[in-house]
Amino acid sequence: MSPVERSYLGVPINKPKVAFFEMSSCEGCQLQMLNNEASLLDFLSLVEVVNFREAMTEKGHDYQIAFVEGSITRSDEIDRLKKIRKQADTLVAIGSCACFGGVNQLKNRFELDWVKKEVYGDYPIDTRKVEPLSAHVTVDLEIYGCPIKKEEVERIVTNLVLGKSIEHPKYPICVECKENHNVCLYDLGEPCLGPVTRAGCDSWCPSNRLGCWGCRGPVDEANVTQLKEIMAQHNFTMEQMLDRMECFGGFSEYITEMKK
C-alpha cells in the first residue's frame, strides 16, 4: 500500500508508515493503542501500521515513525533499538519505561548480582542496569505515562502527522485536578505528587481518589523542596515520598539528592 495522499487546508498530508516495538515492558502502552475501540478506525486512517507484533503477522521494515515501548535491560535490546533508530525518521518513546526506565528501573536500587540470585538462584541470566531509550539513541518525542493515555496519544499522533509541534503541558497535575473539580488528596489524608508532576493525564489518579505517583515525571522546575515540607506537615514519611518518587524513574535526578 502506498501512502494515501490527504490534505488539510490544502497542505498535503502523508499517511506515515508507523511501526510499534517493545523492549522490556508490560506491553500495556501498546495495548492502550488497541484499547481505543471507539476511535481505532480513525487512528488507522491517519497512519498506516506496518509493524505491530502484538496485533499482526505481517512485518514491514520501511516505516517513518517508530513507537518504542519499554526500557533497555539487556544488550541485544540496544542493537535492536539502534536498528530501529536507523530506519525511523521519528522515534517516539512511549510510556514511562521508555522515557525513564519505568518500574523496571527500581532494580537499579540493588547490586545486579543480588537481583539475579534473588529471582533465578544460580541459574545464569543475562541482564544489565535498566536504562531509558534516550541512554542509547536520540529520542525525538516522549509520550509519558504508565500507562499512556489514549486521548493524549491520539492528539499527539494527529499533530505529528500534521507536522504541528508537540508541546507537553508545562504545568503540574494540580491544574487538571482542579479542572476535574476534585477535592485535594491532602485534605483527604493522602499523599500526592501532583504539585511536581507534569500534567497531561487529566489527573487520572487523583480523579479516582488515588494520590499521584509521578509516572509522567517531573514538571519543569518542580519544587520538590517545598513538597518535602508539605509531606512532613501532613505526617507522611520521607520514605513514603521516596517510594512514590522513585517508582517510575522520572524523578531520578531528585532522588539521589533526597537520599543524601
Binding site: Y8, L9, G10, V11, L162, G163, K164, S165
Partner: protein
C-alpha cells in the same frame, strides 16, 4: 410553572449590517490568501483578501493595529497589518515562520481560506505628526509594523517634514521589502540600512543600529521640538534606541513603540499579553514611551 425563560444573548442582534458586540467576539471574517511572496528564507508576505466585498470595504484599520489570523485546528495568532490603511480589507501580512501556526501557514497554497478578526489595538498617531519630522526606526521583523505608517505617510507625503527610516538587520539576506526601498527614496525619504554582519553583496554600513541612529540624529540637529519617533524591534534594541533618543532630548511622549507579547484572544480577556496589568492588546501594542516607562517588566 416557574420555569425561567432562556435568554439568547445573540438573538436579533444583527443591526445596521454589523454584528452586535457579543456576536463579534468569536466572529471571523472569512478571507482568502490571494498571493504569497517569499521575502527571505523565513519571512513571507501574504496578501489576504476578505472574501465578502461588503465586509472588505467596511474593514478599516489604523497603522500599527493588528489582526488575529486563524487557521482552523492549527492556531490563531496576532500579526501587524503591514499594508496601507486605504486598502481596507485587502491586507498584507508579513509573517515569520516561528512556530506551529506560522510554519503551517507557510505551507498552505494560494486560495486557502483563513480567518481574520480585528483590527485590534492602538495605532501610531500619524495625524498628530502632521508638519513634523518622523524617525521610523526598525530592527529585524520590526520593519513589518512600520510599513503601515510608512504607507500612510507616503500617501500624504506633503503633510510631513523630514522622514527618516533607519533599519537594522542581522545580515543582508534577512532584509525585508528590499524591492520597495527605491520607491521610498523617490518620495524623499532618507533610508539608512545597517547590518550586523555584511557579506560579499553588501557595501553599506555594518554595525549596530544605534551607530546609524547617532548619525541621523546628528544630521537632524535639534530633535527636541518637531520630531516624532516610531520604534519597533526586539526588546534589547528598544532599550538602546529609546535611551539614545531621550538623551538627545526627544520628548518621551513623542516616542512611540510597538510591543510584542503572547496573545490568545486579542480582545482583552485572556490576560496573556498583560504587562504589569496593562493589556498589550487593548492599550497597546503601540505605546508612547512614557507609558512604557510606567509599566513594570515592559522591556
Amino acid at each position: 410553572m416557574n420555569k425561567l425563560p432562556f435568554i439568547d444573548v445573540l438573538a436579533g442582534k444583527e443591526e445596521h449590517g454589523r454584528k452586535s458586540d457579543l456576536a463579534s467576539f468569536e466572529y471571523t471574517y472569512q478571507a482568502e490568501i490571494t498571493n504569497v511572496y517569499s521575502l527571505t528564507n523565513t519571512e513571507k508576505l501574504y496578501q489576504i483578501q476578505i472574501i465578502d466585498p461588503k465586509e472588505r470595504q467596511r474593514f478599516c484599520f489604523k497603522p500599527g493595529q493588528f489582526v488575529m489570523l486563524e487557521l482552523p485546528g492549527i492556531g490563531e495568532a496576532p500579526f501587524s497589518i503591514s499594508s496601507s490603511p486605504l486598502r481596507h480589507g485587502d491586507l498584507e501580512l508579513c509573517i515569520r515562520g516561528a512556530g506551529n501556526m506560522t510554519n503551517f501557514l507557510s505551507l498552505v497554497p494560494r486560495g486557502t481560506k483563513v480567518g481574520i478578526s480585528g483590527p485590534f489595538g492602538t495605532s501610531f498617531p500619524v495625524e498628530q505628526m502632521y508638519d513634523q519630522n518622523i524617525m521610523l526606526i526598525g530592527g529585524g521583523l520590526g520593519l513589518v509594523p512600520l510599513r503601515a505608517p510608512i504607507f500612510s505617510v507616503l500617501e500624504q507625503r506633503s503633510r510631513y517634514g523630514n522622514i527618516d527610516i533607519i533599519y537594522g538587520s542581522r545580515n543582508p539576506s534577512e532584509l525585508l521589502f528590499t524591492y520597495q526601498y527605491d520607491t521610498w527614496r523617490q518620495f524623499d525619504i532618507d533610508l539608512s540600512i545597517i547590518v550586523d554582519e555584511g557579506d560579499e553583496t553588501w557595501n553599506g554600513p555594518v554595525g549596530l543600529i544605534t551607530s546609524i541612529l547617532e548619525e541621523r540624529i546628528a544630521a537632524a540637529g535639534d530633535i527636541s521640538q518637531n520630531t516624532f519617533a516610531i520604534v519597533c524591534g526586539p526588546p534589547i534594541m528598544f532599550k538602546y534606541v529609546c535611551d539614545m533618543l531621550v538623551k538627545s532630548k526627544m520628548p518621551i511622549q513623542k516616542i512611540f513603540v510597538s510591543l510584542e507579547r503572547r496573545m490568545h484572544c486579542g480582545r482583552g480577556k485572556c490576560c496573556r499579553c498583560n504587562i504589569g496589568s496593562t493589556y498589550t492588546c487593548l492599550e497597546g501594542p503601540v505605546f508612547d514611551y512614557w507609558s512604557v516607562l510606567n509599566l513594570k517588566e515592559a522591556i
